[in-house]
Symmetry: C2
DNA sequence: GTAGGGGAAGAGCGGTGGCTCTCCCCCAGG
DNA sequence: CCTGGGGGAGAGCCACCGCTCTTCCCCTAC
């Protein structure tokens, strides 16, 4: 019933097996007559080349491994969708692996990935041990980090410009006249968290201001709620807060409005980061820094393909500009443009 | 630098290549001494078996193809995450394909999937042409539909019990005393849409009521908004509406509250379907029918594995009970329990 | 006659698995 | 006690999975 091989097609078409192979290999030459005969026989038998067998000999699996940690932040599914589409259009396919965020499981997951002879690995919001990096390097498998960077290691990475993104939020708050400014971050292990905070603090410092309150929400809804309750529980609470991801910002807004009876933006301005779809929904209408997933994905794939074609190419860290999207969750400075 | 083969390991360990193979094959026998020598040599060389080569001869790729259409409904990323995790724990890996919702591209996508010698195909919210079904059948690749069913074809499928889910929403509305009841659906091609509506209508009919308003939102935010504006633009608008997915329900709520100044649930009761995370966020607090993704995934994988082990096993359609989750977006009937 | 296009043949790619062969252990018989 | 034969575990050999690619050869066209 199953498994039609090129040999059977060859027999039926009355040619050699290698002729069949040539017909199905893009760069190869065959006479029109042979092509016709072979295609017809293949059609009749329902033959399609076995990609696995092909990749065994060519050494190219056309598979890209993708390692993802959280899918609960809406940004990642969206990125995944675009990534998969884009790679598909380039003739690659995506083998997906979920990783919890401890290094142990990540390492194991990447080992399994390597077993599948993937041509490259893209990790989304996942850190890599240097040991692992070495193994990928040794196996000649390029790695590109998506939305995460690592200083020490020589990986390629694509992120939004988190530092300048954080900075622009601070400038926005300052221009609106806010004085008590808070920050609710994610998790110290994440480069995105660190850089957003650093950019935010740096712009405050330039203006001679300092952070009035600081907390970490671990990128979770519960963590963010807890941070918000603590930061806004007292009467001298901040009048503006930058939350490191939209996902957490929604939770913060829910606490401010639903539990603490604070009005947004009159009592508190809230700004997030990511610009996931719910940020534009009327119930939140969240001002936020937009991570342009499409651009990030495009750069990631480009970088990946470049490294596959030329393994010696130097690792690069690409930072995508991330514009501030102004909506109604934060006080808008007089005469604010752009 | 790369590509350590079993032969090299064999040389270093001073054994035959097949001995190396045996050490890395679960069921095979080898002496402790050999195992030790081989493991050591493999360690030193960084050897891992080539899964592709293995699957070429065993005929088992341990790859499951996953076809997904929309990742913009939050339900799917969540399901995908669980699915991938669960399959991983069973020793399978997921090759992911995005499909737009026309049959043409789906067919092409599945062809490519078949090229990778996948052992099974799971489609999430995607319909299959019968021609395609036949080809999968012919190739001996089982197909399981996730969150979609197809009457005619003999596929296995796992869905929530959409009919009874829709029914329970109608009963809930009726118990609360609603008289003008509307429905905003998805897209007629989707079995989920049809069954939810059928269940909803059937419970109304049993009570001697009929649908006061009906519209389709195509499962998109824009479509749902348009439907809502149209349905609630006049003064004799419905006082309760069932929206076929949470995703659309949020958009409907935004329009009702933000554009039409209607109060929820005083002026209009809204109930959704899915129970995605934002449904429990305070800004929406949406009453909805819960699709238990974890149970659905578990059943899907179980079914898949059963069909892989025993290709002759009869196709089954498993329906998962879906409870109504009562929150504040709809009037709660007096003395309502469960 | 020579050049060149295109088909056939065969050697792998990195493994697996059946078959054979060896070696060792154990037991029975002299 | 020593020796020989039977049996089983474990290692080696080799064919093969389905395809690509190089080499070689043939046939055609100029």
């Amino acid at each position: 019933m199953d498994k039609v091989t090129s040999l059977e097609v060859a027999k039926r078409a009355g040619v050699s097996q290698s002729a069949v192979s040539r017909v199905f290999t893009p760069g190869a030459s065959a006479s029109n007559k042979t092509i016709l005969k072979v295609r017809e026989a293949a059609q009749e038998l329902g033959y399609r080349p076995n990609v696995l067998a092909r990749s065994l000999i060519t050494g190219k699996s056309r598979i890209i491994g993708l390692v993802v940690a959280y899918l609960d932040n809406y940004f990642y599914p969206l990125a995944l969708e675009k990534l998969s589409n884009y790679l598909q259009s380039e003739g690659y396919h995506v083998l997906i692996f979920m990783a919890t965020n401890d290094t142990l499981s990540t390492d194991q997951v990447i080992d399994e990935l390597l077993d599948y002879q993937v041509e490259g690995i893209i990790t989304a919001s996942v850190g890599l041990s240097s040991d692992l990096t070495a193994r990928c390097e040794a196996a000649g498998v390029p790695v590109v980090l998506f939305n995460r960077s690592q200083d020490a290691a020589n990986h390629s990475a694509v992120t939004s410009n988190n530092f300048s993104g954080g900075k622009s939020v601070a400038e926005f708050f300052l221009a609106a006249g806010h004085k008590r400014i808070g920050y609710i971050g994610g998790w110290e292990g994440a480069s995105t968290q660190r850089e957003r905070e650093a950019g935010f603090r740096s712009a405050l410092a330039e203006a001679g201001e300092a952070l009035a309150a600081h907390a970490l929400g671990q990128f979770t809804v519960e963590g963010a709620k807890k941070a918000a309750r603590q930061m806004f529980g007292e009467s001298d609470h901040p009048d503006a807060v930058f939350v490191a991801t939209d996902h957490m910002a929604f939770a913060v807004m829910d606490v401010l409005r639903g539990e603490l009876n604070l009005h947004i933006p009159n009592d508190v301005s809230v700004v997030g980061y990511d610009d996931v779809p719910p940020a534009s929904w009327a119930a939140y209408d969240l001002s936020t820094v937009r991570q342009r997933a499409d651009v990030m994905v495009k750069e990631t794939v480009t970088l990946m393909i470049e490294k596959i074609r030329n393994p010696a190419s130097a690792p690069r860290h690409i930072k995508i500009d991330s514009p501030l999207i102004v909506r109604s969750s934060a006080k808008i400075p007089e005469g604010w443009t752009s």
